[in-house]
Point group: C2
Chain length 240, copies 2
């Protein structure tokens, strides 16, 4: 598929959010939604949403809005999540095993079908229906199963080696949870998911809040004493 205009990377980054919101709307039986209402729901402006979607085509009905089912389907296709992806996970430590057990990936169509580690005590064990395999089997198994996406959940100091192995195995996209920069060749897509980084940004905010808020006020971005209806308290206990 080739799009009608240059696709803004920032627009792509927002599509998953739209996708989730539309899924929920669809589950609730909402059939049509305007960019205004969708914007309210996802936290972006209506103009932003319309601009983002316009990169990929025209999905709305002027004067009416968007058909939820159609738009949901269209975005799934654009993102390529109208199918299931097999994923390889490397590292079955704390984080790796949590990612393996995390239901959120499967819910969005990403199935971890192979897990590799170098801890001989773990090899051969079956976790979450997947047998842990020795790292040395990785290239073969990944090729065998035609896996295209790899998740790195190993310590920082070996992350690059693992990335190299994944690339040699034919992996074409990597999600790196190790807190280290890794380098991959052109043609392999890389995303970093460094969990501490976001906490550090929060720390920055807390440390510099006074200055930040002063600046924001000067730009009129901080709502003064304005009431926000979404902020009412809820009851506290509920099954989850």
């Amino acid at each position: 598929m080739s799009w009608k205009k240059r696709v803004a990377e920032a627009a792509v980054a927002r599509l998953p959010t739209y996708s989730r919101a539309l899924d929920e709307l669809d589950r609730k039986g909402v059939e049509i939604i305007s960019s205004d209402e969708l914007g309210e729901k996802v936290g972006y402006s209506a103009a932003q949403i319309r601009k983002d979607l316009s990169c990929f085509g025209e999905f709305g009905k002027v004067g009416t809005g968007y058909y939820v089912k159609d738009l949901k389907e269209a975005i799934s296709q654009i993102l390529g999540i109208d199918r299931a992806w097999n994923v390889a996970l490397v590292g079955a430590g704390n984080l790796g095993s949590a990612l393996l057990a995390y239901p959120g990936f499967r819910e969005r169509g990403f199935r971890i079908v192979a897990v590799f580690d170098n801890d001989l005590r773990k090899i051969g064990k079956k976790w979450e229906n997947v047998i842990l395999q020795d790292i040395s089997e990785m290239p073969e198994k990944i090729k065998e199963q035609g896996i295209q996406i790899g998740i790195i959940a190993v310590p920082a100091k070996v992350a690059q080696q693992i990335a190299d192995m994944l690339v040699l195995s034919g992996i074409r996209a990597i999600l790196n949870f190790a807190p280290a920069r890794i380098v991959v060749p052109d043609g392999v897509e890389l995303r970093a998911a460094d969990l501490s980084r976001e906490l550090e940004r929060l720390s920055y905010f807390l440390t510099n809040e006074a200055a930040i808020r002063t600046e924001a006020l000067q730009k009129g971005k901080v709502a003064g004493g304005e009431e926000d209806k979404t902020r009412e308290s809820h009851h506290y206990r509920q099954d989850w």
Copy 2:
């Protein structure tokens, strides 16, 4: 602290990366580094690094570069990670328990000192040296310990309720791992860490790769047959 010029949010987002690289350089005994060399290491341009740092002051020595120890220290202060932060975690399911056990947070100064869940079978258990507490105790305990940062690791459908509770408890910054948008009042900082989103962006890349690469080629951003020395393969096994 108030900075000499408007601070670009994008610059703040890169500081943790610089911080990590400088830590490593310092451990290796490197004393001085130029923006060129640091850029090489972190994957940003030298100009980018200098511009970023210039938001916060002048840290370099013209004609020489940056003293690693000094810059490292300065960035720690800017980010507010020259101290330890106590953090509350809500949700002790798959993801929550992994985050609790994840050593990366503590390494960067974030200590999870309170964990809340609503599963009565878990309450009172001690995991990673922290006793799991009932969700109803949250407001009291958070106030008691003066915790300012909260991590949400509960299912999407209760994420907003938990966020509301955290806010009522006096939390000032939230890291949300639930795949749902939550809303918080002004003065509370929120970051989303939706693990599936990044996989979906990778899926987009794999699905639209041909078109993306064509476009990049037209802009001359894809290296043709150029050799990259960093891409040599390494030996495969190593303790981790």
